[in-house]
Symmetry: C2
Subunit: 399 residues, 2 copies
C-alpha cells in the first residue's frame, strides 16, 4: 500500500486558494465587524417567486430531467429580455440557462479552448475567471488595465498570439467597479472578429450602473453573432444568489458543443430554480431598479469618506457594480501587504474588505470595498471605521 495519497492536478495546484473564505473566517471570528467585503445584495427575490414555487411539482414531469438548454418558457423570456434591453439580434444566436454565470464561463472555456491555449484576461480580474481558465487547462494571459481601471486596448491587441482563443471582458466590473464605454467594447469585439477569437463578456452586474453611466452589450454590435459569448446572472440584481440561475447567449454554431458540456456538468439547471427565475424575469428591471438605486447613498457615503483620506488612497472612477477598488498609499518609507492591511482592518478596526491580491493585483496594496450594505447605519459605521483604520495604517501625520 502506498502511504502517500495520489497528487492533485498541477493546474489546480497553480490556482491560489480563494481568499474570500479566509477573510470571511477572520470576519466571523471578530463579531461586530462591519463587512464591506460582500459580493451580494442583502435583499431577497421578488415575492412572486414564492407563489411560483408553491405550484412547482403540480406536474410529475417537473421532477424529471428538463432540457439541457433550459425550460422553454424561461428561454423564451430571456430571449425577449436580451432583445428588448440589450439590443441583441436573436438571429444566429442561442440561449442556454446555466446554474449561475460562473458555470456558463467554465462551460464556454471548455467548449472553445484546448489545453495550452491562451485566454486574454484584463487585470484586476474576477478571480473565478482566472481559476476557470486554469481549470480548463488553458493559460490566462493577464493584461493590466490602465490606472483608471479601463481596458488598455493597445495592450490587449498586442497580447494576441497564435494560441489565443478568446478575450475576456467584464462590465460593470468586479472588482474595479469600472463600466466600460461602448467604444472600448466595440474595439475589443472588432479585434476578436478580425483575429478569429471569441469575445467572452460577463454582464452579471448590468443593472448596477450609477452617475449616468450606461451599460452596453457587445451582442448589440452588428456582425458580432459568430464570435460573441455573453454571460448573465440573476444572483445580483434579483437577490437570487443561492438559487443558482444564470444564462448565456452565444453563436448558434456552438449549441451542439455547449450541450455536450452542459450534459456532462449539470445536465440541466435545477428546474425549481428555473421556474423561480421566470418569476424574477416577469418582475423585471422595474422591480430591481429601486433596490439598486437604494445603494446610491451608500456609494456617496463611501466615496465621501474615502475623499477625506486625501493622498492616503487613490480612488479610480467606479460607476458600476457595487464596488470601489482603491489603492492604499502608505508613507514613503513603508510597504503595505494587502492581506496584512485587511487583517488589521478587521482585528483592530472592525471593518472588513477584500485584498487586491484576490483579483490578481499583487503590487502595492489595493482593496475591494463593497457598498451593497443593506443597513445605512452599518454602512456609515463601516465607512467611518475604514477611514480611521486606513488613517492609522498608512501612518501619515495629519495635515
Amino acid at each position: 500500500m502506498s502511504p502517500l495519497p495520489p497528487p492533485v492536478s498541477a493546474r489546480l495546484a497553480a490556482v491560489q486558494s480563494p481568499i474570500i473564505p479566509i477573510v470571511m473566517d477572520l470576519y466571523r471570528r471578530h463579531p461586530g465587524t462591519v463587512s464591506l467585503g460582500q459580493g451580494v445584495v442583502g435583499y431577497g427575490p421578488p415575492p412572486a417567486v414564492a407563489e411560483r414555487i408553491a405550484r412547482f411539482g403540480d406536474s410529475p414531469a417537473h421532477h424529471l430531467y428538463q432540457p439541457d438548454e433550459g425550460i422553454p418558457e424561461l428561454r423564451a423570456a430571456i430571449g425577449e429580455k436580451v432583445a428588448a434591453e440589450n439590443g441583441i439580434d436573436p438571429r444566429d444566436r442561442e440561449i442556454m440557462v446555466t446554474a449561475g454565470a460562473n458555470m456558463g464561463f467554465l462551460n464556454a472555456l471548455i467548449a472553445i479552448t484546448d489545453p495550452g491555449d491562451e485566454v486574454i484576461l484584463p487585470r484586476p480580474y474576477f478571480f473565478n475567471h482566472e481559476m476557470a481558465i486554469r481549470m480548463a487547462g488553458a493559460v490566462p494571459r493577464i493584461v493590466a488595465c490602465r490606472p483608471d481601471h479601463q481596458l488598455d486596448r493597445r495592450a490587449i491587441a498586442a497580447a494576441v498570439g497564435p494560441r489565443t482563443r478568446a478575450v475576456v471582458t467584464n462590465s460593470p466590473n468586479n472588482p474595479s467597479g469600472a463600466t466600460y464605454p461602448e467604444a472600448d467594447l466595440r474595439a475589443v469585439n472588432g479585434l476578436c472578429a478580425e483575429r478569429g477569437l471569441y469575445h467572452l463578456h460577463d454582464e452579471a452586474y448590468e443593472y448596477f450602473v450609477h452617475d449616468g453611466a450606461t451599460h452596453f452589450s457587445p451582442g448589440a454590435i452588428p456582425g458580432s453573432s459568430p464570435h460573441t459569448i455573453e454571460l448573465w446572472s440573476l444572483s445580483k440584481a434579483y437577490g437570487f444568489a443561492s438559487w443558482r440561475v444564470g444564462y448565456m447567449v452565444f453563436p448558434a454554431g456552438l449549441m451542439e458543443t455547449l450541450l455536450k458540456v452542459q450534459d456532462t456538468n449539470i445536465i440541466c439547471a435545477p428546474a425549481i430554480s428555473q421556474h423561480a427565475a421566470l418569476a424574477c424575469l416577469e418582475a423585471g428591471f422595474d422591480w430591481c431598479r429601486p433596490r439598486i438605486e437604494s445603494f446610491a447613498p451608500n456609494r456617496e457615503l463611501l466615496l465621501d469618506a474615502l475623499d477625506g483620506l486625501g493622498a492616503r488612497v487613490e480612488v479610480p472612477p467606479a460607476n458600476g457594480a457595487f464596488y470601489v477598488f482603491v489603492r492604499v498609499r502608505p508613507d514613503r518609507d513603508r510597504e503595505l501587504d494587502d492581506m496584512a492591511v485587511v487583517r488589521e482592518l478587521i482585528v483592530e478596526h472592525g471593518v472588513a474588505a477584500v485584498p487586491g491580491s484576490a483579483f490578481g493585483v499583487e503590487e502595492g496594496c489595493s482593496l475591494r470595498l463593497s457598498y451593497a450594505v443593506a443597513d445605512r447605519d452599518a454602512m456609515a459605521l463601516g465607512a467611518r471605521r475604514l477611514v480611521d483604520g486606513l488613517r492609522a495604517i498608512t501612518g501619515r501625520t495629519e495635515r
Copy 2:
C-alpha cells in the same frame, strides 16, 4: 472581419454528440411509442419535500450564497447516512454536496488530472463519464468488461501506465445493469492504492439491486480513505432528477482543491434543492424501498420476454440499476447497425431503446433496455413490441 466563426475545442469535437436526444426526438415524433429508453424513475420525491420548500425563504439568509461544500445540516445527514448504510469511516474523509453526481465526477477529474493524463474506464461505460474525461483534457483508457459485463481485473491492471491517474468504476452499472461483487471492487481499490491512483466510484444506483445482489461501497475498505472518491445522486432513488443534488465523499486532503473547483463551477449547489434533499434523506431508504421493489415485476416481465427470443439475444446477468444490456444476434449473413435497429424498433414497432454505441460498444448490436416504466401495462406492451420487433429484425425463421 473574419467570415468564419472561431473553432470549437478539439477535445469537444472528439466527443460524440449525445445519442439519447436523437432517440428521444425519434420517440416524440412517433406518438404511442413505449419507451424502454429512460434513465429515470417515474415517481416524484417524498411529500415532505413540498413542506420543506414551503418554509424556504423564511430566513433572508436562505437567498445568499451558501457554503461551497454544502449546507451543514445536509452534510451532517449525508455523513450519518454513509456511515450507517455504506460502512464508511468518516475519519480522513470529507463530504461535498454537488448539483448531481455528474458534476462531482467532472469536478473530481479536474482536481486530479492534468491534460494528457490517463483515466481507466471499463466499457460499456456511462457516456457522461467518457465525456467528462475528455472535457477535463484527460485521455480515457477504455478497458472492455468481460462478456458477462463484470470487471476484467487483469485487463484493468495491465492498462495502468505512467500517466494513469485514476480507475473509474460504476456499480450498479449504467448501462449494463451489472452489480460488481465486493471482491472485484476490493481488487480495484487495492490496485489503486498500490499504484498511487484514485479510485473514482459512482454509486448513483446503490439502492437498485435485485435478486439478492448486495451493494458494496469501496469506502468501507480499511485504508481506502487516501485514494477513494465516491459519488452519489438523489436523482434516481428519490425521483429527484430535476432538482440536481448529489454528493461526493473523498480524501480530506482533496478538500482545498475541490473547493476551488466547486467555487469556479457552481459556487454551491442550489440552496432550495439542498433543503429539499434534507427531506429526502429524512424519508430515507425505507421510503425508496417499496418504490424500487415495484420495478421487480417489470424486470421479470422483460427478462421473460427476452428469454422467449432464444438465440436472437444474449442477455448477460443484470441484477442492478434498472437496465438490461443485451446483444442482438442477427442471422449469420446479416450485419446489424444498432442505431438502425433502434430506429426500426421505434418507427415500425412502437418501442424505444438506447443503442449500445452510446455507451462505447461499437461492435455488433447492443441495446440498453430500461424497466423503470411506471405503468405495468405499458411495460408489458413494450416488452411484447420489443420481442415482435427483434424477431422481425433479426430475421431468424421460427424454430
